[in-house]
Amino acid sequence: MEKTLEKILDDYISNEGNIITVLQDIEKAFGYIPEEAVFWFSKKVDIPASRFFGAATFYSQFHLKPRGKNVITVCRGTACHVKGSERLINRLLIELDIPPEDDTTADHKFTVEKVNCIGACGIAPVTLVNHEVHGKITLDKLIKEIKKLKTSE
């Protein structure tokens, strides 16, 4: 971990970064924001850890808990809502057996999350499976994608 953080620190110094760019780099490297990473950084640059956590909890791109290996992002924009994305997400949670109030399966294989709008409203409802955009999605198609991911391991 330390090596990766050193690199992020170098970037921060040479590119005149700020808290948000640092958090973006950490999230990219680890898939979430580990608490230790924040404390390490906070010490190195002498900025209170609270400022990092303040930004990390403000922006939806940052996560303080590890996430599933596969991330399924259901778009919750207006067009997708009108075309039934709420039902899609409810069924997905049942299908993957994710407990209420949670977003990740117990084995950390899948995370189901919402996004406000990815701006592909012309092909709503839209879902991202590991950052790949799938338009005009149905539950059946999604379940097929999930099965594919499950068997590919």
């Binding site: 948000i20 939806s60 207006t78 709008c117 409203c121 012309g122 092909i123 839209v126």
Partner: protein
Amino acid sequence: MKKDIVIKICSGTGGVASGGEGVLSAFKNAISSSGMEAAFHKRCSAQKVGCRGFCSKDVLVDIIIDGEKTTYKHIKQDMVDRIFNEHIMMGNPVTEWTVEEEYHTFHNKQTKVVLSHCGEIDPEDINAYIAVGGYEAARKAVTSMDPREIVEIVKNSNLRGRGGAGFPTGLKWELGLRIKSDVKYVICNGDEGDPGAFMDRSVMEGDPHSVIEGMIICAKATESHNGYIYVRAEYPLAVRRLQMAIDQCYEKGFLGKNIFGTGLDFDLKIFQGAGAFVCGEATALMRSIEGKRGMPSPKLWRSAEKGLWDRPTVLNNVETFANIPRIILNGADWYKNLGTERSGGTKVFSLSGKVKNTGLIEVPLGVSLREIIYDIGGGIEGGKTFKALQTGGPSGGCIPAEFLDTEVDYESLAQAGSIMGSGGMVVLDETSCMVNTAKFFLEFTQAESCGKCTPCRIGTKRMLEILERITSGKGKEGDIELLEELGRYIRLTSLCGLGMTAPNPVLSTIRYFRNEYEAHIRDKKCPAAVCKDLITYSVLEDICTGCGACKRACPADAVRGTRKSPHRIDPDLCIKCGTCFDACKFKAITKS
């Protein structure tokens, strides 16, 4: 055979999602394996182009042979060989795959200014942009125009901020020029957060250079040397293409030190947002670039005086900047005459929801909503009835059928109880519940409220609770009046635009669809059969064939019955997910 052949493949987010990259490489393979390159003297090329608006027909492919264009729709990788052999080699278009009349009516009624290059040129190639007159406006402005002259043209064009508020762009620039400072900033707001809006994404992906060119002109007009483009994290393709465009500009000397050899310096950087709707608000956006929590601050002074790092800052929307090069080249009068008396030019809208032709459209300000929905949009999907048009996203409202002949501009939409906003238009039909729609938007604003001021933080929460109560059948007499009262106070007392406009979806739906609220509260019924707690699913026994499809599909094992005899749904187990409704091929399941 010396023919010019150009193959254009839509590669916006919609096109890529539908398999655009595969189609592009299939065409490239076809060209290279056919040995055509030599035969055509390298006159045959396949290129990616930006979004052309009609995303529901993706992947769209244009084949232009000697200027004659044929457009294909829904193209998949395995269809490429046939098109290549029959159309390109033999000259016979594959007519069963070409677009129909609706594609042409969709486009014919539009006036493309901002989108004129989208879908026509390769967005990743600066030379393609230069070939269609790109950077001429910037060159003209930087080399031969006085800042005051530029400001005058923009002022006279009647261009108003396309982010939604509609502040006259020329005035903003004038103020930016008047205030003296050695450090000034130009910021492009690409934090398109409104759900249901994707104009800016399409422009950034399909014609990134026009945004950069607009910013260069703004830098000259306001004597700024530093710029930022703030792009949402949710738009990775836009970020990639903008970065490519910026790098190409540095190579060509359009950005950096001494641009166009005039001694003017202008540096441009991308700042990627981190997912917060409120960052579309100017002051919050600037705090975000500074690396802080994106919370708005009271507007004690204009950003043109004190903006980013307390320096004078001119901040405009993506679409506003993309208009600028055309205005400089074609003149203020040309642009002004495109629109209405109060606002000049065209506006890009993203038309989506329950309309036949969904996609990106550009129309002159002043056209009627009816023309947009019925002529360009082709009417309502599935022969259903139009109920309302939602404009302006969570800050806007729902406009009912009686306003369909309203001319579109900032003031008239505000009069109808909505706002122009950034340009999202979502069509709702008879199957959409207006209370549920209002709740949807309030859920959004409530979650996205930054929490700094009380009316927005607590007020939206209380309003949402009331709406949840109403949609779950626990609404009380007086709830509608309470919503109106709360809405009024939140509107008056919130700190920033997010809070001030948050009650709009609720207030506008109460104004036009009060009876639906009353049906939920008094009769405990959802007229559109959307609100889960107010509907029950049941089987029509005389239609049910007992095929068992619903039984197999039900995730809660709530369907009972034996094969070939009518099934029934156990209301105690039913979770009202609607899966059986979709699974039944005989329409034997009803919602009521």
